[in-house]
Symmetry: C2
Subunit: 264 residues, 2 copies
């Protein structure tokens, strides 16, 4: 059943990664900023730096290929502890203290995100999951009741295994699925204030990118390799019904001042 | 509003502790057994052995007083990782694989269990919480929708702090609160088959204990110091509206063959 847009209420899905969720002071600021976002909302977090740190303390070496973590059995335990436990539950407790009724979730909880273990091609990423299916009925109902989901970058394969999954992907898959029910804005927060015309000049934020501009910016070599998958992801989310996508800084999580990605 | 008993549907709250949830083979058996329990249900788990093990690997010493863990800031991080992450999420994924739509929760999630940091008297237990308030409206609604909550032994103080909380207490406080909505059976599983007449003879299970018998068994020195708080807890749960309490073995989680505690 297709629900027409005019029946949908706005929902903001905010993905924050990196050290902002892992250091006490920046986390406090983030939680204050997130609390100030009006309306229905979802927070998706990373936690890679903490995972690397805890792994090192446990004598487990972190191996990255193409910016992605190789997740063997020991590393899977670490990310399950750090993403699903340490980072997620501290965010949940922090939001509760701010009057937000938060609910921490991995993709296994409520069967929200089912994934397949990534097939081994050039690289064996180990226990890493590519999302196959999102089941957001219960989550959508909880959101309508005022609950704020806080999602850790873990999924499951439906056979009893947790899988490490990129937080950007968690955010886009969740946003796409919730776009069936809500008018979704998806906000990717990262260390830069937006997509930059000049990567060395934080003042050079491109305020708005449409698909045609994107192709031109790539052709002109202005958008570099690291940003291309982020933008492709953003356009895919728009194609799947997400209303707006922003790429912005972790200190401006409402998207203002960042780059707005639009499909039209 | 008091809901009369005849409107209530049965719910089983099962608390499992110890190594059964922490070793792959026994965990599999437990998850199979739990899956076979009919009707609405909640699983409450411990994880102390894993916490001690991970703490040791991280160079953090485990200190116990009166069988309770001293939880300093570092140990709180460990139990948050192990209880809220490693143990909880593996159980959730394992139940999903068995067709159970599980939802992992700490007391911070959905604000289920609010607690106060235990005041320092003879012992400073550190970040340990005594439950002040249970809020189970959302949990009860989810249970009615077929969701199975899986609860980790962590609560929060409403001020942004997680607190380590005894899993028996999590089970009894949750059971008591849910007894407003369901006809609750509370099953405590531990390493013995039940309350024993002779602690060295596993065949000497006392099938049923009423308050008067309890007083007599304590007076006769048959029930020892370790079991007294468990039984007091059980009677308190019955007084608060829980229908039945069982003390049984982790290999007989339906309570059959264990000790039934009754208030009448």
């Amino acid at each position: 059943m297709k629900i027409e847009n005019y029946h949908k209420q706005p929902l903001t899905v905010i993905k924050v990664g990196g050290k902002i969720v892992e250091e006490e002071e920046t986390l406090k600021q983030l939680l204050d900023d997130f609390t100030a976002i009006p309306g229905y909302k979802v927070l998706v977090h990373g936690g890679g730096r903490s995972a690397t740190k805890i792994a090192a303390l446990l004598g487990i070496e972190t191996k990255m290929v193409n910016g992605r973590r190789i997740t063997d059995a020991d590393m899977l335990k670490v990310v399950t502890m750090v993403y699903g436990g340490l980072v997620n539950k501290n965010i949940v407790a922090g939001l509760q203290a701010r009057g937000i009724n938060a609910l921490g979730l991995t993709g296994a909880d409520l069967n929200v995100l089912l994934s397949d273990k990534r097939p081994v091609k050039d690289v064996d990423y180990g226990f890493v999951g590519d999302v196959r299916q999102a089941n957001v009925e219960h989550v959508a109902a909880l959101i309508h009741q005022g609950i704020v989901p806080v999602m850790a970058p873990l999924t499951h394969d439906g056979k009893g295994h947790l899988l490490n999954t990129n937080a950007d992907t968690i955010a886009s898959e969740t946003a796409k699925a919730l776009a069936q029910v809500f008018e979704v804005s998806l906000i990717y927060c990262f260390e830069k204030p937006g997509v930059l015309l000049d990567e060395h000049d934080d003042a050079s934020v491109i305020p708005c990118i449409h698909p045609e501009q994107f192709r031109q910016l790539v052709a002109d070599g202005i958008i570099n390799s690291g940003m291309i998958p982020k933008l492709e992801n953003a356009f895919a989310a728009l194609d799947a019904g997400v209303r707006k996508v922003y790429i912005t800084s972790s200190t401006a999580i409402d998207g203002q001042g960042g780059t707005l990605i639009e499909s039209v």
